[in-house]
C-alpha cells in the first residue's frame, strides 16, 4: 500500500476548512472552562465548609469520568434540555436542528474546568506567603491583596500549566466528532470517504493539529519569558 500524496495535498485545504470550527469550539469551551475553574477555585480557596466539600466532590467526579462519556451523556441529554427550555419559552426548540455544538461545549468545558480548577488553586497557593504578609503589613484589605498582589502573580505562575491544558483541550475537541459536531477531524473523515483515503486525510489533520499546538506552545513560552521574569528567585 502506498500513500496517495496527491490526494494528501489536494485534500489539505478541505481539512483546513474544518479548523475554524475546531478553534471556535476550543474558544467557547476554554472560556466556560475558565469560568468554572475560577468559581470552583474560589470556593475551594475560600474554605467555606459545606461548599468546599461539594465542589471538591463534584471536581473528582468530573475528573473520574472520561471525556468521551461526558460528551455522549450531553449528546443524549440535549434533546431533553432543549425541549424543556422550549417549553418554558427561553429557547425555540426544533427537533430537526438539535443544538449539538452547545452540548459539546458543555461537556468539554466541565471536563477541563475540573482540571483547570486545580491549576487555579495550586497557582494561588504558590504565591509566596511573604508577599501576602507584606500586603497585610501595609494595611491592604483581603480584596486589595488579591487584586494587587495575589492575582497578578498567580496568573503568571499558572501560565505554563494553563497552556498545557489549553493544548490538551484543543486536541480534545476532536472527540466532539463522536457527537456529530463537524470539527476538523470529522471534516477530514468525510473528505476521505469517497476514495477511502482515510490515512491521507488523517495525516493532514494531524499536521494541522501539530502546527497549531506548536504555535500556541511557542507563543506561550515567549509570553512567559516576558511576563514571568519577576518570579526568578531573588538574590541574597
Amino acid at each position: 500500500m502506498e500513500l496517495d500524496y496527491d490526494f494528501m495535498v489536494t485534500d489539505f485545504p478541505t481539512v483546513l476548512a474544518g479548523l475554524p470550527k475546531t478553534l471556535i469550539l476550543t474558544f467557547w469551551s476554554t472560556l466556560f472552562a475558565l469560568l468554572i475553574a475560577l468559581i470552583f477555585g474560589c470556593v475551594i480557596l475560600s474554605n467555606a465548609p459545606a461548599f468546599k466539600q461539594l465542589v471538591v466532590a463534584l471536581n473528582t467526579f468530573i475528573k473520574g469520568v472520561p471525556l468521551a462519556v461526558q460528551l455522549l451523556f450531553c449528546y443524549y441529554a440535549v434533546p431533553f434540555v432543549a425541549k424543556w427550555l422550549g417549553s418554558i419559552g427561553i429557547y425555540d426548540f426544533n427537533p430537526r436542528h438539535i443544538p449539538y455544538f452547545p452540548a459539546a461545549v458543555v461537556a468539554i468545558a466541565c471536563n477541563f474546568g475540573a482540571y483547570i480548577t486545580d491549576v487555579v488553586v495550586s497557582s494561588v497557593k504558590a504565591v509566596d506567603r511573604g508577599q501576602i504578609e507584606s500586603a497585610q503589613s501595609v494595611g491592604m484589605t483581603g480584596l486589595q491583596t488579591a487584586l494587587h498582589v495575589i492575582v497578578p502573580q498567580a496568573v503568571v505562575i499558572s501560565l505554563p500549566s494553563m497552556t498545557n491544558y489549553f493544548i490538551w483541550l484543543l486536541k480534545g475537541t476532536s472527540l466532539a466528532s463522536l457527537i456529530n459536531v463537524t470539527e476538523m477531524l470529522i471534516t477530514a473523515q468525510i473528505s476521505a470517504a469517497d476514495g477511502y483515503q482515510y490515512l491521507e486525510a488523517y495525516i493532514d489533520a494531524a499536521l494541522i493539529y501539530w502546527v497549531v499546538c506548536a504555535a500556541i506552545e511557542f507563543g506561550s513560552e515567549r509570553l512567559f519569558k516576558r511576563v514571568g521574569f519577576f518570579l526568578k528567585p531573588a538574590r541574597a
Binding site: 508577599q131 507584606s134 503589613s137 501595609v138 484589605t141 497578578p152 503568571v156 519577576f230
Partner: protein, 255 residues
Amino acid sequence: MTGHDTGETVVSLKGIRKSFSGNEILKGVDLEVRKGEVLSILGPSGSGKTTLLRCVNALERPDAGIVRVDGTTIDFSGKVPNKQILELRRKTAMVFQNYNLFKNKTVLDNVTQGLTVVRGVAKNEARERALKALSSVGMDGYEDRYPVQLSGGQQQRVSIARALAIRPDVILLDEPTSALDPELVSDVNDVITKVAGTGVTMILVTHEIRFARNVASRVVFVEQGNIIEEGTPEQVIDNPQSPRIKEFLSKMMAK
C-alpha cells in the same frame, strides 16, 4: 543611642499571650514603646521575640492581651472585627527578614502601593513621597527596576523606604539583615541608624548585639516567652543582671 524619646507612649502591649499548637510562645508580655524611641528586642532563637513583634501589627493574632498603637486599642481576648485590625496595620509598617517586596511591582510601585491603594493618597503626591523616601535610603535612580533585579541589600533598603513613605507611628523591623550577604549588612544598618536619627519610632528584632548596642535607646531581653530584663543598652548589654543573658551575650559576641 540615637532615639528621640519624648515620653509619649505610641505602642503598648498588655498581657500578650500566644500559643502555637499547644506550645505557649508568649506568656503574658507587657511592653511600652515611647514616641521616637528605638526599642531593640534581643533573645535566643525560639524565645518568642519575632512572634512578639508580629503581634504588634496582628500578623500574629494574640490569643489574649491588649495591643494599642496610637489611638487604636484592640483587646484580643474577645472577637476582633477585621476593621480594627486594618486600622492597627495602617498605623504601622514592617520590614521583613526576607524583604518581601511585591515581586510583580517596580521599586516605585512597591513604595507607592501602601499610599495609593490603602490610604487613598493621590498618585502625584504618592510618587513624590516615594521618591523622597527612596532618596533617603540611597536608592534614587532605581524606581523602574523590579525586586528581582536588585541585590538583597538594595531590596531591604527599598523595603525601608516603603515603610518610611507611609509615615507610620512605628516601624517594625524583623531581623532586617539576617538574610543578607555579610558585606551588605552594614549598608542596611547604616540606613536604619540614619532613620533612627530622624526620630522615627522603631521596634527592632535582631541577632546583632553590636548593632543593637549602637542604635537602640532601650533594649528588652526575651526568653521563653517573657521579658526577663529591660533597660538601656548599657544596662542590658554591658552589665546584664541575669546569668542567662551573660551566657547568651558571650556566645553571640564570640562570633
